[in-house]
């Protein structure tokens, strides 16, 4: 048991260590002091209650979208479209929320969050149907759907959904009744974090305690064997991709409800893409995704402090995030990308020449 956990955790820790080391070299090369910079980042993330709250706020969308990535990757569906699905979720929250006035608070909020998840799922369903009906690789379609989602949002916030009074390309604010409650005002820490943690627990239950979750994992790891065992692999692909879209959509909805209260063009700083890194660093396990989301949230929250105190650009955080993934993939022997099992691929190749 200890060994198995270690096998899961060690590559991630190594990757993080290697990425931090690389960044230290970069800081030194650009004339900064790595020790000061990292100290500033650390205290900027964990130095006060306020900064801790900010870490949680930054981690929240990454956690939900990271779970979205984990669910689909575990089922062998390479959903690169969490960004687009997240935007659609945010759109649902902003569009409905700015028109929904006099609902009992929690009911309205719940309804809007469900709508956000549904629109995210619907956006993912496009890619799922393209794959199942036309054999379109979901890596391509989900990436492309990200751009379409961006375009749709851009059009809506400058046109039909543009705020009534002002001249900014953004939607009206949602009704205050729909704002996600803060847990310890004035800290920005909000109920969405608990929702995200509960979702992580739910994803764990689904993947490891239910038949559907078992079938998804089996289909993801070996679709041939799963199919031959009578598992409806297509159905599991559809389910995984739509669930993934729903989780990403929820991430967008929660963010609008809790933080921005409205939708505008540059709403997401790329959460849906960072979520892929979060999912991979968390080894696609719900618990791992929680830890990875907090880590990335801390990088984000600490980066401004680092910039102020050590004069190192906060963009360095992107470098750390990216190098973590490069090292992780390099340390990892498992392939992250789909292997296509051609029906004749294994016959007569040199390695199977004997049998």
């Amino acid at each position: 048991m200890v060994q198995r956990v270690a096998r899961q955790v060690v590559p991630s820790l190594l990757a993080v260590a290697a990425a931090l080391a690389t960044s230290a070299v970069l800081i030194a090369l650009s004339g900064g002091d790595p020790v000061t910079a990292f100290q500033a980042m650390l205290s900027g993330a964990f130095g006060s209650l306020d900064s801790l709250s900010e870490v949680a706020v930054k981690a929240c969308p990454l956690l939900l979208a990271g779970l979205a990535v984990a669910v689909s990757f575990q089922a062998g569906v390479w959903n690169i479209g969490a960004e687009g699905q997240l935007l659609m979720g945010a759109l649902a929250m902003a569009a409905i929320g700015s028109r929904l006035g006099a609902f009992p608070g929690w009911l309205g909020l719940a309804a809007c969050l469900v709508a956000a998840a549904l629109l995210g799922a619907a956006w993912a369903a496009i890619a799922a149907q393209l794959r199942l009906r036309r054999g379109v690789n979901e890596v391509i379609s989900t990436i492309m759907l990200n751009f379409i989602a961006l375009g749709v949002i851009s059009y809506l916030v400058q046109g039909p959904l543009m705020e009534a009074g002002g001249n900014y390309p953004q939607t009206d604010a949602i009704a205050p009744a729909l704002w996600m409650p803060r847990l310890f005002p004035p800290l920005r820490l909000h109920l969405g974090l608990l929702l995200a943690l509960a979702t992580a627990a739910g994803v764990y239950v689904l993947l490891y305690l239910t038949v559907a979750g078992y079938e998804m994992r089996a289909a993801g790891l070996n679709p041939n064997a799963a199919r031959l065992a009578g598992i409806d692999v297509d159905r599991r692909v559809l389910f995984a991709l739509m669930l993934s879209g729903a989780l990403a959509g929820l991430a967008g909805g929660v963010e609008v409800s809790a933080i921005t209260h409205r939708l505008y063009e540059r709403f997401s700083p790329g959460w849906g893409f960072t979520a892929i890194a979060v999912g991979l660093l968390g080894r696609l396990s719900p618990a791992g995704v929680v830890v990875a989301a907090v880590f990335f949230g801390a990088l984000d929250a600490g980066s401004n402090a680092m910039q102020r105190a050590a004069g190192v650009s906060s963009v360095l955080v992107s470098v750390i995030q990216a190098t973590v993934i490069l090292f992780l993939v390099a340390f990892e022997r498992r392939r992250w990308w789909p292997e296509y099992h051609g029906t004749d691929a294994t016959v007569g190749s040199p390695t199977t020449g004997r049998s």
Binding site: A218, A225, L228, D344, G348, T351, G353, S355
Partner: protein
Amino acid sequence: MLGATGASAGSIVSGMPPRLAVTGVRKRFNGVEALAGVDVEFHAGEIHAVLGENGAGKSTLMYVLGGFLSPDSGRICIDGSAVAFATPQAARAAGIGMVHQHFTLVEALTVAENLALSLLPQAEWRLDMGRVVTDATVLARRVGLELSPLDAPVAELPVGARQRLEILKALAGTPRVMILDEPTAVLTPLEVGQLFTILRELRAQGCVVIFITHKLREVVEVADRVTVMRRGRVVLTQPSTAVTESVLAEQMVGDVVPVTRRVHDPVHHEVVLRVAQLRAVDARGVEALTDLSFTVDAGEILGIAGVDGNGQRELFEILSGVRRPQHGSVEVGGQRLGEFTPRAALSAGIGHIPPDRQRDGLVLPMSVHENCLLHCGVLARFSRHGFLRRTDARHFTAELVRRYGIRMPAIDAPVRLLSGGNQQRVVVARELAQQPRVLVASNPTRGLDIAASAAVAEALVDIAQRGCAVVLISTDLDEILDLSDRIHVLSRGRLSPPLQPPVERERLGLLMGGSAG
């Protein structure tokens, strides 16, 4: 050009070293000896057939000669001087051309563009298509090959034309040795005849033609000498005029050992599986199964013998529901299978043991326990409101592990850590636990050691004795002869009339080689 035109069969020019000599070559894969010390000589101006069953090592030997694999030990000499190929390019530069069983053409490109890949020097940056056209025409005329229209996309060419293109590509380096790996597998009889003409032309020009096959008739028709391989060794090298088809068949399948056949107790005479007029077309559009019909009684083991590539895969896939036949029906206990999906087949009571357990039978990164549940029937049994009943499921696995003596580090250890024999025990245990009415087992003991093979065979006999109808599709004649109550030979998609054991191995060998028995 070296060598006299029409060099006589198997002649050894005195004082001349053989064109290609292989001495003591060994190659192991994962502890299995694929080549166990191979010695063979190939002479200029001969067509030399290499014959053997699946797994005899003939393809491995050719991969070694072609530079795709490096041998663990042994020597390869060309014209008396030792060579070692690190890459296929090195082998090609040394004058060894290969035509693979599976084509290596780029389908989206035209004939000329495919030829350019081989005809133009790699260092050149300019794509000189004019030169490709001239060179290809000269080359084709030299060996008497009919050239396809150069601007036709390869995807539109029939199989025979594609193979001629492959041969032309291999000839681009003016090879002294031409290796063809089962070149006739995809060809029509007419195309086979044309291929043989080309091979004779190459021989006339002094080339060594090495021709891998398992078809006896072709050996007699075209080869000057023949080498038979079995279990990684050369068991015979003779002029083909000095051997008969039955000798070759006997050498190919092994010594005739006294077979201990189980006594089938014919208590049941109820037809459980009825397969009628199955027709299937493979991925290339070639007919893989032609009007296949057979029945299996309860408690009977029906052996289907044959060399891979004669419709075995298609038959297994249809019975396990992965493939829909173009025509024909499958009935279990009088109920016709309505649709061809794995779930429908499993629900109808057809269990299966796939030929490649790692590809189709197991999810290697998952635990032994999780692999024991990999069956929709088992999952349904342990499902309550969509949740897995964990405790009961673990008891189930523990029982399977105990009953089949599965040896493993832990029930939660990934199944990939298990030996091949124990992996197969997991597959067999899981399938039999559902008490199928029909069990389709394809090469169930392939690659297993003696103990594991015996355990699997025992399990098949046991389930048959409990009334299951067993279809045993196998290339292993020992297995077929040991276990079957009745035997069909599947050759080129057609089923031989049923044979009642005891059957002589040579007779099976001849039927498997496509000769009328």
